[in-house]
């Protein structure tokens, strides 16, 4: 029955090709139905494959599609690896994608490039599934680049806006920097293990010396920081919010940005070889989570807050990977996909109702106008804030418990981040749905309207998932949890100190306290305020001046160098050489031209003199 697995990938591709080839004859409605339908079927295939995996004896099945590259010792099949990790990933990728496709059919209604949008979206889903299901690094890289380019197209979807176009370029270039890391990791692995399939690499980890392993892990970390928007490559993600909101929800919150985390988890057997590498990962993750959370406290754009919140949450995931809690990382990834998609789609609904307004200062008091968006958003807000019994509480608690047993300072950082998370999300919630109605100016005194069914139903489904997502991995449900299901996939990690129930309860209480502090502070401060110089530090609002630093250290010197090349090297050296050569040839040609006088007797004389020279030479030889 594993032959269903290729269908997961092929269906979105088929949808993409079908719409691409027949799109002009299809109406917008049929394009939306087809695009959503193929992804829905792909989800169905994932579910069936999942059931299959649950009942199989072998939980690692490779499905060979065809031989892709076979050169000397490099053999790369186009093959699918079906194991608990990949099937979990494809389940939530296809599931969330289906909901967001459905949502988009309503949200994108009336856009002039409706068809193009769904083309890219389908192609994105195909690429993401390629990334997830591939059984080797090369095929994963194909998907990795595929999601990157789809992200570029979708971020710059409104390409006639300067901000969108440059945001797309920024995302693309930051991702390229990260890609170098993945390539270097692949080169290193191939040099030392002569294989690039995951199972092949894992079975020959003994060939990797500690130094090489650390280098590979650091290269993978670079790749992950690029794709998953971690320090130092995190600041493309907020700019990527220039894309349509469903794109932000699907690509820049739920799925693509988790690819880096997935890669790290997938390569966990290699991570197990290098404790210093894992330490770097943990530090990067923890620091990113904290930094992004501080920035989120001072943003005024509703989508920017959510973007930095995404960076922060992925920081948690990376932190979990760093301390070896792979199950916790995936658990958080899945639940994050639920509640962050919910929040983004909810914000999309808000923006939709206000005719495109994203500034929170011009919102407020929307609770009574959006009867479906408001309660679902409320659930999303409580979930991300870590309030029990929603999914966020369990998943974040899982991560923090694991971090506590490994590294106390990072745990403190994590708890601080949790306080900040609750704070900035509550601020967003209060500014958007509570307080006075400040949107009249934007809507021209009209009342905001609730979004159509196609947008609210996905919200409801995601809200339900956010509420009950925690049951995937309850701390006391050993043997029947996500972590247990995934465990065979992970590399060996030194077992941590036993987590007693007392400790777990205590840490859970700390988490609840952190959430409570954040909520309370936000409500106190923002109930009667719209903006505040005290609590919205310009330093945070300007992203710790991170872009300025890159501008000063990299962009400007490079621009100067490029200007120098263009003005001096190009004009003087290259043009000088080329034109000098051409000029000298022309001048010498003009000189030689005079020899061709058209006088036939001169030519004859030249022949005779040539004969003379030959005869004189011969005479000289005879002597």
């Amino acid at each position: 029955m594993t032959h269903l697995a290729p269908l997961i990938m092929i269906l979105p591709l088929a949808g993409f090709l079908f719409v691409l080839l027949n799109g002009r004859s299809l109406g917008n409605r049929s394009v939306g139905v087809i695009a959503t339908g193929v992804v829905g079927l792909s989800f169905l295939a994932s579910v069936l494959t999942f059931v299959q995996v649950l009942h199989d004896h072998s939980r690692e099945v490779t499905v060979n599609l065809f031989t892709w590259i076979s050169v000397d010792t490099l053999h790369v099949p186009a093959a699918i690896l079906v194991d608990p990790l990949s099937i979990t990933m494809s389940l939530f990728v296809t599931g969330i994608s289906t909901l967001i496709h459905w949502y988009s059919t309503a949200y994108m209604e009336g856009e002039k490039d409706f068809r193009k949008f769904f083309l890219y979206l389908n192609l994105f889903v195909f690429s993401m599934l390629t990334l997830v299901l591939a059984n080797n690094l090369v095929l994963t890289f194909v998907g990795w680049e595929g999601v990157g380019v789809c992200s570029y197209w979708l971020v710059s979807y409104y390409f006639d806006r300067d901000a969108a176009a440059s945001a797309g370029k920024k995302a693309f270039i930051y991702n390229r920097v990260g890609d170098v890391g993945l390539l270097v990791a692949m080169f290193l692995l191939f040099t030392h293990t002569h294989t690039l399939t995951y199972l092949g690499v894992f079975s020959s980890t003994s060939l990797l010396s500690p130094t090489v392993a650390t280098l590979v892990v650091l290269a993978l970390l670079l790749a992950a920081t690029g794709k998953s928007a971690q320090i130092p490559l995190f600041n493309w993600l907020p700019d990527a919010m220039e894309g349509p909101t469903p794109v932000s929800a699907l690509i820049h919150a739920a799925t693509m940005v988790t690819a880096g985390v997935y890669l790290l988890v997938r390569m966990s057997p290699v991570l197990a070889l290098s404790s210093s590498g894992r330490m770097s990962i943990a530090i990067i993750g923890g620091v990113t989570a904290f930094v992004a959370a501080t920035i989120a406290t001072a943003q005024k754009d509703i989508k920017k807050v959510l973007a930095f919140s995404t960076v922060s949450q992925i920081g948690y995931m990376v932190l979990a990977v760093g301390v070896g809690a792979y199950g916790a990382a995936i658990f958080l990834m899945v639940s994050h996909a639920f509640f962050k998609a919910l929040l983004f789609l909810g914000s999309g609904s808000v923006i939709h109702s206000l005719g495109g307004e994203q500034d929170m200062r011009k919102m407020g008091g929307l609770a009574r106008w959006l009867p479906l968006t408001f309660p679902t958003f409320l659930i999303g807000w409580l979930t991300i804030s870590g309030v029990p019994p929603f999914a966020g509480f369990w998943s974040k608690g899982d991560v923090l418990t694991n971090v506590f047993t490994h590294n106390k300072p990072l745990w403190v950082l994590g708890v601080l981040t949790a306080i900040l998370t609750a704070y900035y999300m509550s601020r967003l919630f209060v500014l958007t749905f509570r307080g006075s109605e400040r949107f009249r100016e934007v809507t021209h005194q009209h009342d905001p309207h609730e979004s159509p069914v196609a947008m609210t139903v996905p919200l409801l489904i995601l809200a339900v998932l956010s509420v009950f997502g925690g049951v995937l991995d309850l701390p006391w449900a050993h043997g029947f949890s996500l972590t247990h299901f995934l465990a065979p996939t992970f590399g060996y990690v030194a077992p941590s100190a036993a987590q007693s129930t007392t400790l777990q309860t205590g840490l859970a209480l700390v988490d609840v306290a952190a959430a409570a502090i954040g909520l309370f502070a936000a409500f106190t401060i923002w109930r009667n305020r719209v903006e505040s110089a005290t609590f919205e530090k310009p330093f945070f609002e300007h992203v710790w001046h991170w872009d300025d630093a890159y501008d000063a250290t990299l962009a400007r010197p490079l621009a100067t160098a490029a200007q120098f090349s263009s003005d001096v090297v190009e004009e003087r050296v290259i043009d000088g050489a080329v034109e000098g050569l051409g000029g000298s040839v022309r001048r010498s040609g003009e000189g030689i031209r005079k020899l061709q006088a058209g006088m036939v007797r001169q030519y004859a004389l030249a022949m005779v003199l040539g004969a003379t020279v030959i005869v004189v030479y011969l005479v000289g030889r005879v002597r």
Binding site: M599, R601, Q602, L605, V608, L609, A611, T612, V615, V616, L618, V619, V622
Partner: protein, 213 residues
Amino acid sequence: MLATTYAIPDVLVFVSAAVMILVGAVGVIAMTNPVHSALSLILSLLGVAVAFLEQSADFLAAVEIIVYAGAIVVLFLFVIMFLGVDKSKHPHVEPLVGQRWFAGLGVAITVAGVIYLMANSHWVSGVLSASTGGTALATGAGNVTQLGDSVFTTYLLAFEATAGLLIIAVVGAVLLARRERTAEVDDVDDDVEETAADAGRFDEDVASQEVES
């Protein structure tokens, strides 16, 4: 000294041939009137024919006189008369600077060098070579037979090729020298135009009549 070494008649024939050849040749390049040049050329060619005779090439000597002195030089004269270029306009003004000096020097050095090379080469020492394996030359009528044999057997392909060459040359010469009938063509064109104009006039007349009716 000559008498002691060589038979007197032979020497006399050679000297007279050489004198004819060189005097004729110098005459060709020295005469200002092209007709005189052509006549000098005949003298030179007759000398060559004598030199051929002295070396037992009877048939070639005859052909030399008939084809060269007869046909070719007559063709030259014909063209000279036909074009009316009896005198070159400025025979002694040389527009190319140093052309004569360089030409004289180059030719003199080359000829002297070639003669010097001959004097130092075994293949012109006058000794008959026995190693060529060629047919010994007969004298008199036998020579013509030999030549005929050679042309129509060994060199048959070349002979056929020259036949083609002559045909092409004749066609080419006819094409080149043909008087361009531009004037006649113009006349014809004019006639045609006139006719066309007449026809047009006629059409107009018809058309106007139709309109009137």
